[in-house]
C-alpha cells in the first residue's frame, strides 16, 4: 500500500493541453502512472501524448474510471475547475495552482468536504508513491520506492529531502506536498494519520516551516496517536519575523508561529529533529529504517 494513491490509481489531468500540463503528463505516464484522460474546455477530441482529451469531466467519466485529478489550472480558474471535479464525485483532487484567493479556497475546501473529495494543495507539487503512481511534478531522480513517508509544506524542500534519502538508499512510500498555505485542503495532521495507518510506511519525515500553528497540531497528534518514528525538519529558523495579521494573528497564533516553538513542540511530542536534509537519512538509519 501507500497513502491516497497506488499502482491502480487512474488519473485525469485538468489543463492537459497547456505547456505544463502536457509536459508533466508525459513524465507521469512515462513513470508508469495511469493517466487515462485529460480535460481542457474547447479541446475535446484532441489527444496529448496519446491521452484522450475531453471538454468536460462528465464526458471523461463516461469512458474511464477516474480516481484522482491533478489540476494544472491557473489560480484564477482553480475554484471553477475544482467544482467540476467535486461535482463529478472524484475522491481526490491535487491543486498545483499557486495564488488561489483565500475566499476561493475557503469555498473550495468546504464544498469538497461536504461532497467527500480530498483536496491536496493548493500550491503543491502533488503527491507521488515512487514506482506506483505519480500525481505530481516531483523530479524523478530524487524518488525511490521504500518505507519512509514524507510530508511537506514546501515542494522544493521535499525534493531536497527525498534527494538526500534516495542518495543514501532510503526509499519513500508516499511523498505528500500539502502545499504552501495559508490555507490547506489536507493538513499535516491528516497526512500523519494516513501514514500511521499505512502498513508500508515505517517512518515519517515531516517538513514544516515558520508561521501558523499547524506543526503544533501535528505535534499533538504525534504525541497522542503515533507509534511510528517521526523525523522533523522545520525551516525558517533564520527567517526575519514576517508581518503578522494584526492582533488577530497574535490571538489565533500566539507565539506558536516561530520555528523555535514548532521545533520545541515536535521535540516534546517525541519527534526527532533534523537541521538539514542530509541529517535525515542518518537519523532514520539510527531509528532502524
Amino acid at each position: 500500500m501507500s497513502i491516497l494513491i497506488d499502482q491502480n490509481t487512474q488519473v485525469l489531468i485538468q489543463g492537459i493541453t497547456g505547456t505544463v500540463g502536457s509536459f508533466q503528463a508525459r513524465i507521469m505516464r512515462d513513470s508508469g502512472t495511469r493517466v487515462v484522460a485529460g480535460v481542457t474546455p474547447g479541446k475535446g477530441g484532441a489527444e496529448v501524448h496519446g491521452i484522450p482529451v475531453y471538454d468536460l469531466i462528465e464526458e471523461a467519466a463516461v469512458r474511464h474510471r477516474i480516481d484522482a485529478v491533478l489540476s494544472f489550472v491557473p489560480a484564477r480558474s482553480a475554484l471553477d475547475a475544482a467544482l467540476e471535479v467535486i461535482d463529478a464525485g472524484i475522491p481526490l483532487l491535487v491543486l498545483t495552482a499557486e495564488g488561489v484567493p483565500d475566499q476561493d479556497m475557503v469555498k473550495l475546501v468546504r464544498y469538497a468536504a461536504i461532497n467527500g473529495t480530498t483536496v491536496v494543495g493548493p500550491d503543491t507539487p502533488g503527491l507521488v508513491s515512487p514506482g506506483k503512481c505519480k500525481l505530481g511534478v516531483h523530479p524523478n531522480r530524487v524518488l525511490k520506492p521504500g518505507p519512509v513517508g514524507v510530508l511537506s509544506k514546501s515542494g522544493a524542500l521535499s525534493y531536497e529531502v527525498c534527494k538526500a534519502l534516495t542518495e543514501q538508499g532510503i526509499g519513500q512510500s508516499t511523498i505528500v506536498g500539502i502545499g504552501g498555505g495559508p490555507l490547506w485542503g489536507l493538513s499535516q495532521q491528516a497526512v500523519l494519520r494516513l501514514f500511521q495507518q499505512d502498513p508500508e510506511t515505517k517512518a515519517v519525515v515531516l517538513l514544516g516551516e515558520v508561521g501558523g500553528t499547524m506543526e503544533q497540531e501535528a505535534a499533538a497528534y504525534i504525541e497522542a496517536e503515533m507509534d511510528k518514528p517521526v523525523v522533523a525538519l522545520i525551516v525558517g529558523r533564520a527567517a526575519p519575523a514576517g508581518s503578522r495579521m494584526g492582533h488577530a494573528g497574535a490571538i489565533i497564533e500566539g507565539e506558536e508561529g516561530t520555528a523555535a516553538s514548532k521545533i520545541e513542540a515536535l521535540r516534546k511530542a517525541g519527534a526527532w529533529i533534523a537541521h538539514r536534509p542530509s541529517e535525515i537519512p542518518l537519523l532514520l538509519r539510527r531509528l532502524g529504517v
Partner: protein, 383 residues
C-alpha cells in the same frame, strides 16, 4: 495589501460602520478646520504606533500645528510619517475588540471578539484566552444571526442592532473585497453609540485581479505616502513582481521555492555566513524570471557572492540555465557565482551552464559551504 488606518476606516464607513469624522493632513497648514480637542494619528503601516509617540491629543490650532510639524519629521519603527489622520476626540466608556479572518484550523471565516479591546488585547489573549470569543461560521451560510446575538451578549453590548450591522458590514467587506483581515480595535462604546476608533484591513493580493480599481486607488495612495524608503533592489523586485526581502548580510540568494529559500537561509547562517536577501521565484518561474531575479539581487551593492540554489519539479532546469545565461549575456557578474542545480530537465540545464563556464553543484551543503567561503575569502582579501 495592508491598508493604512485612514484607508481602512474609509472602506468601513462606506459599508456603514460608524467611524469618527476624520481628515487626512499632510502639512501643518491643514489643521485650520479642526474641531478641538482633536486626536492626531500618524499614518504608518505598522502597529505599536501609540507607544512610539505617533498619537497626540491637541487642544487648539497652535498645538495642533506644532504636533503635525513634529510628527511629519519623525519615523515610526522605520517608517517615515507622511500623513496624519486628525479626528475629534471621542469620549469612550468601553473599548471592545472585533475582528474577522479565516481560521486556519477550520478553514472557515471566524469572528473574534472581546469585551476588553484596545492595547491590552494581546495580553488578554495570553493571560485569559477564555475571555476572547472565537466563532467560526460556514462560508456558505454567512454570518448567522445567532452568532451576532451570542457575540453581542458576550460583549454585553447595549446597542445590539448597531453591533449587528457593524458585524454584517465587516463580513460584507471581508467577502466582497477579498479581505484576509478586518479588525476594529478598539470598537468604542461612546455616549453617541459604537464607533470604530481604529481599524486594520488586509486585502488578499492573490485576489487583486478581482478588484483592480480598488487596488489601484489604494496602491496609488500608499505609493504617495511611501510605505518606506526602498532600496533600488526592492523597487526593482516590486516592478518585476518577484518575492524579495532585503536582509543585512553579503550573500545574495536565489531559490526556486520558499521552503528551500528558508532552508538555505538557515544553512548559510549556521555555516557562519550572512544572507543579503531572501528571493524566491515561485513555481512558475521561467528563463526571463530567472534573469530578472539576478538583476534584483545583484542590484544590492552589499552582495559579495551569489548562490543560486535550484531543485525543480515544476521549474525546469533547462529554462533556469537559459535565464542565467541570458543575464550573463546582458552584463557580467563581478562577484563569485555559485549555482546548485538539480531536478526536472537538469541534464539540459547543466550542459547549458557548462557551455558558459559554470560548473553547477549537485550537493546543497557543499554549495552553501562554497558561497560562505567565497565571501570569507573576499573579506580576507580586502582586510
Amino acid at each position: 495589501m495592508r491598508l493604512f488606518e485612514f484607508q481602512a476606516k474609509r472602506l468601513l464607513a462606506e459599508c456603514g460602520v460608524p467611524v469618527p469624522p476624520g481628515i487626512l493632513i499632510r502639512s501643518p497648514s491643514e489643521v485650520a478646520g479642526l474641531a478641538f480637542p482633536a486626536v492626531l494619528k500618524a499614518q504608518v503601516p505598522v502597529g505599536g504606533r501609540g507607544k512610539a509617540g505617533g498619537i497626540r491629543v491637541v487642544h487648539h490650532a497652535d498645538e495642533a500645528r506644532m504636533a503635525v510639524e513634529e510628527l511629519l519629521g519623525t519615523r515610526i519603527r522605520g517608517y517615515p510619517v507622511r500623513a496624519i489622520l486628525a479626528e475629534p476626540r471621542v469620549k469612550v466608556s468601553r473599548e471592545l475588540y472585533l475582528a474577522l479572518l479565516v481560521d486556519p484550523r477550520t478553514n472557515r471565516p471566524m469572528v473574534i471578539a472581546s469585551a476588553a479591546g484596545g492595547m491590552e488585547i494581546e495580553e488578554i489573549a495570553r493571560q485569559a484566552p477564555e475571555q476572547i470569543v472565537r466563532k467560526p461560521f460556514d462560508p456558505f451560510i454567512g454570518l448567522p444571526s445567532h452568532l451576532i446575538r451570542s457575540a453581542g451578549k458576550a460583549l454585553a453590548i447595549q446597542d445590539a442592532p448597531t453591533f449587528g450591522a457593524i458585524l454584517e458590514a465587516m463580513v460584507g467587506l471581508f467577502t466582497s473585497q477579498d479581505a484576509t483581515l478586518v479588525e476594529i480595535n478598539p470598537l468604542a462604546e461612546t455616549p453617541d453609540g459604537l464607533v470604530a476608533l481604529d481599524a486594520k484591513i488586509v486585502l488578499d493580493d492573490k485576489a487583486a485581479y478581482r478588484h483592480t480599481e480598488l487596488f489601484a486607488r489604494l496602491s496609488e495612495e500608499q505609493k504617495e505616502l511611501g510605505r518606506t524608503d526602498k532600496t533600488p533592489a526592492e523597487v526593482l523586485a516590486e516592478e518585476r513582481r518577484i518575492t524579495y526581502i532585503l536582509l543585512e548580510g553579503e550573500i545574495g540568494l536565489i531559490t526556486d521555492g520558499a521552503g528551500t529559500g528558508m532552508l538555505t537561509l538557515d544553512l548559510i547562517q549556521e555555516a557562519g555566513g550572512r544572507p543579503a536577501n531572501f528571493c524566491e521565484m515561485g513555481g512558475l518561474a521561467n528563463a526571463e524570471i530567472m534573469a530578472q531575479a539576478m538583476e534584483v539581487v545583484l542590484a544590492n551593492p552589499r552582495v559579495k557572492a551569489l548562490l543560486i540554489s535550484l531543485i525543480g519539479g515544476l521549474t525546469r532546469m533547462d529554462e533556469m540555465a537559459e535565464g542565467i545565461v541570458r543575464y550573463l549575456e546582458r552584463q557580467p557578474v563581478t562577484v563569485p557565482l555559485i549555482v546548485r542545480m538539480c531536478g526536472t530537465q537538469e541534464e539540459v540545464g547543466k550542459a547549458t551552464l557548462r557551455r558558459v563556464g559554470i560548473e553547477p553543484f549537485d550537493d546543497l551543503d557543499e554549495a552553501v559551504r562554497r558561497v560562505v567561503q567565497a565571501v570569507e575569502g573576499a573579506s580576507a582579501c580586502r582586510s
